[in-house]
Symmetry: C2
Subunit: 369 residues, 2 copies
C-alpha cells in the first residue's frame, strides 16, 4: 500500500478512531488501527469488540492495500510530524515507512487479516439529531451512570424515542438524570440501553455546531452513529431498564428557586470539609426567604445562607453534596428550582419546560449524624 | 486573635508560604501555616526545617494573637471564598472562625508555641539581583540537578559570586549546566550549594518583571532571599562541589550551528521511539552541510537530516536524546552551536557571550548498539 495525504487530515482521522482503543488489551490487534485504501480514500478502523469506529481520510492513493499498526505509536508519530504532506508505504512483510519533510520512520505493522473489521449493519430505525444537541444531552446525564460493572444496566444510558420526543435517562443507586428534547421529525418507538463508555467517547468527537447533523440506526444488538465521514458502532446492553416513571413524581410540598451560582459556591465550599471516607451530608434548612446550608465533619463545620424564593412548607433536607454539584455543573440556567416533599423522599430539580429532571435521594439525618 | 483582610491578598500570601509545606509530614505542625499579628500586619510562616517562608499580608487587626492552622485546609477554603472581605478569629481554645460574605467556617487550629519559627539571620554578604533574572537562571539549570539523595551535593545548585559575575552550576552524572550573568554591583566572593528543591519552589513565587529586585544574604549554614513582603530561608548543602573548570574545555574539532526549532522537532520525534527501559542513543552524523539524526529501537527506526553550518571535521556522536531536549527547551536563541572533539568526549552547547554552557556526555556507540 502506498499513499500520500495531508498531515492534519491524517492526524484528525487517527484521533477520532483512537477513541475506541483501550490501550490495555492483551490482544495486539485490538490496540491497532486498521489502515486500508478504499474507493480513493483511506479507511481508518478501530474495534475493541464493544465499540468500533471507522473514519475516512482524503488521500492520493498510489498503490492499494491494507495494514494494522499500533494505534498509540502511529498517533504519537503523526502528531509530531512537521506540517507537510505525509507519505505512507507498507511492504509485503508489513514493514511501514512514513516520510514527512526530511523525517523518515520505519515501524513494524501486522497483517490486516488478523483484524476484526466492523460488521455490516442494516440502516434500520434511522433517527436524525443535531450533533451538538446529542453531545449536550450526553454531558448533562452521563455523570449519573454507574462505573460498577456488577449491575451492567446502570453503566449505560437509556435512549428512548417516542414520536418526536427523544429522552436520555441514567441512574445509579442514589440519583436519576433525565434529559428530554423534541426532534425535527417523528419516528417509531425505540428503547435501548447504550454503554456509558460509548457515549462518553462519542461525545468527544461530536461537533459543537448546532447545524451539523448525525444519524442513529438501531437494531436488536447494535446502535450505529453516522456523521461527517465517521461511523461509530456500539453493542447495546441487554436487559430491562428501571421504570423511572414510578420514581418521578410531580407532587411536592416545598418549591424553592435559588440562584445557581450562589448555590454552587456554597455547596463547593461545603465539599472542602469532606474527605474520601467521609459520608457526612450537607444539610439544607429551607425557610421562608432563605436556605441555610450546614456541613459538619471531622475537619470542621460550615454554615451559609442564601436568599431563595419559596412556596410551601419549611423543610430540612440532607444529601451528598457531590451529587448536587454534579447537577449544578451541567445546568446552564441562572436559577434552579428544587421540589421536595419531606426529608425522606427524593428532591427533584426540574425546569418549567420539562427538558430535564434530576432526582437526588436524601440521606437519613437520624442515622447519618 | 481577630483581623479582617482582603480575600485576594490573604489567598496570595497563603499560596506563597504553601511552597514550603511538603504535606507529607508526620509532624502536624510542619504541615501548618503559623498566622500571627505583628506591627499592624499578618505574618504567615511555614517551615519544613530545610526551607522556610515568611510573608506579610495587609490587614485590619482587631485583636493581637497567633495560631497554627493546617495549610492545605486553610488554602482550599480561602481559595473558594467569595470575593469579599475575610473575617478571621481564633479563640483561647484554638478554634478558628472564618467569615466571608454569608459563608462561615469553624475549624480547629493548634497553639502557635508548638511551631518552629524561622531563626533570626544576620543580613551578611548581601547580593542584589533582578527577580526575573534569577527565575530564568534557575529554569535554565535546574533540570540537570539529580533527584537521587545518595549524593546530596548533586541535588543542589552551586551559586558562585566573584566580583560582579554571578554563576549557577548544576550537574548530574551525565551532563553539566552553567549559567552566568553580570550583576549591577561587585561583591566579595561567595560559593555555596543551595538545595534544588528550594530553588524550584522559590522560582514559582518570583516576579516575571525585570525591574523587581531581590536580595540574597549568605552565611555559613543558610541563604536568605528577601523580596517584596517575603523572606525565603533555606539551609545550604554542606560539602565541596565538583570542579567544573576541569570538565569544561574550549578546544574543539567540530563546530556546528543548527536551527533550534528544527533540531528540537527532530530530537522530539526520535524520543517517540524510546520506551522507559530503553537506553538507545540518538546518533548524530555531522557532515559537510547537514546533520543526519538516527534512532533505532525495538519500536522502529527514524532518520532525518537537518541543514547546518559546520566548521572542522565530520563526526559521529551518540547521546541520550532526552538530555538534548532538556537543553533545547531552555535556550531562547533561534540557533544553537554545538562543539565536539571526538565521539568519546563531551559535546558542548555554548553561546558566543559565555552566558551559558551545557555539557552532555556521549554514549559509547560500540557498547550501546
Amino acid at each position: 500500500m502506498k499513499f500520500t495525504c495531508n498531515k492534519d487530515n491524517f492526524s484528525e482521522g487517527i484521533n477520532i478512531v483512537l477513541k475506541a482503543v483501550t490501550g490495555k488489551s492483551t490482544i495486539p490487534t485490538l490496540d491497532c488501527i486498521a489502515i486500508e485504501t478504499k474507493e480513493g480514500k483511506i479507511n481508518l478502523t478501530t474495534n475493541n469488540m464493544e465499540l468500533g469506529i471507522k473514519t475516512l481520510v482524503e488521500s492520493d492513493i498510489i498503490e492499494e492495500g491494507s495494514i494494522l499498526i499500533n494505534a498509540k505509536i502511529i498517533s504519537e508519530i503523526i502528531n509530531k510530524l512537521p506540517d507537510e504532506e505525509v507519505y505512507f508505504e507498507s511492504d509485503t512483510n508489513d514493514n511501514v515507512t512514513l516520510k514527512c519533510g526530511k523525517a523518515k520512520f520505519n515501524i513494524s505493522g501486522l497483517p490486516s487479516d488478523e483484524f476484526t473489521f466492523l460488521p455490516q449493519i442494516q440502516k434500520t430505525n434511522q433517527v436524525e439529531i443535531s450533533q451538538f444537541k446529542l453531545k449536550e444531552m450526553i454531558r448533562q446525564t452521563i455523570f449519573s451512570t454507574s462505573s460498577n460493572d456488577n449491575n451492567r444496566i446502570l453503566t449505560g444510558e437509556l435512549f428512548e424515542i417516542h414520536g418526536n420526543v427523544f429522552q436520555i435517562t441514567s441512574l445509579d443507586l442514589y440519583r436519576v438524570s433525565v434529559r428530554k428534547t423534541e426532534l425535527e421529525k417523528s419516528y417509531d418507538s425505540i428503547k435501548v440501553i447504550i454503554p456509558g463508555k460509548t457515549l462518553s467517547e462519542i461525545s468527544k468527537i461530536l461537533s459543537s455546531n448546532e447545524d451539523d447533523l448525525l444519524n442513529m440506526y438501531f437494531n436488536s444488538n447494535h446502535v450505529m452513529f453516522e456523521f461527517d465521514d465517521t461511523i461509530v458502532l456500539s453493542r447495546l446492553i441487554e436487559g430491562n431498564y428501571y421504570d423511572i416513571n414510578k420514581m418521578i413524581s410531580n407532587d411536592y410540598e416545598t418549591k424553592a428557586v435559588i440562584n445557581k451560582r450562589e448555590l454552587y459556591g456554597s455547596v463547593d465550599r461545603g465539599i472542602l470539609l469532606l474527605r474520601e471516607s467521609d459520608k457526612k451530608p450537607l444539610v439544607m434548612n429551607i425557610e421562608e426567604n432563605s436556605v441555610c446550608m450546614e456541613m459538619n465533619t471531622k475537619i470542621g463545620s460550615m454554615d451559609e445562607s442564601i436568599e431563595i424564593k419559596k412556596e410551601g412548607k419549611d423543610i430540612v433536607f440532607a444529601f451528598n453534596p457531590k451529587f448536587l454539584i454534579d447537577v449544578l455543573k451541567v445546568i446552564d440556567d441562572d436559577e434552579i428550582t428544587l421540589y421536595m416533599t419531606n426529608s425522606k423522599a427524593p428532591c427533584f430539580i426540574k425546569d418549567a419546560d420539562g427538558t430535564f429532571v434530576y432526582l437526588i435521594l436524601p440521606i437519613n439525618l437520624s442515622s447519618a449524624v
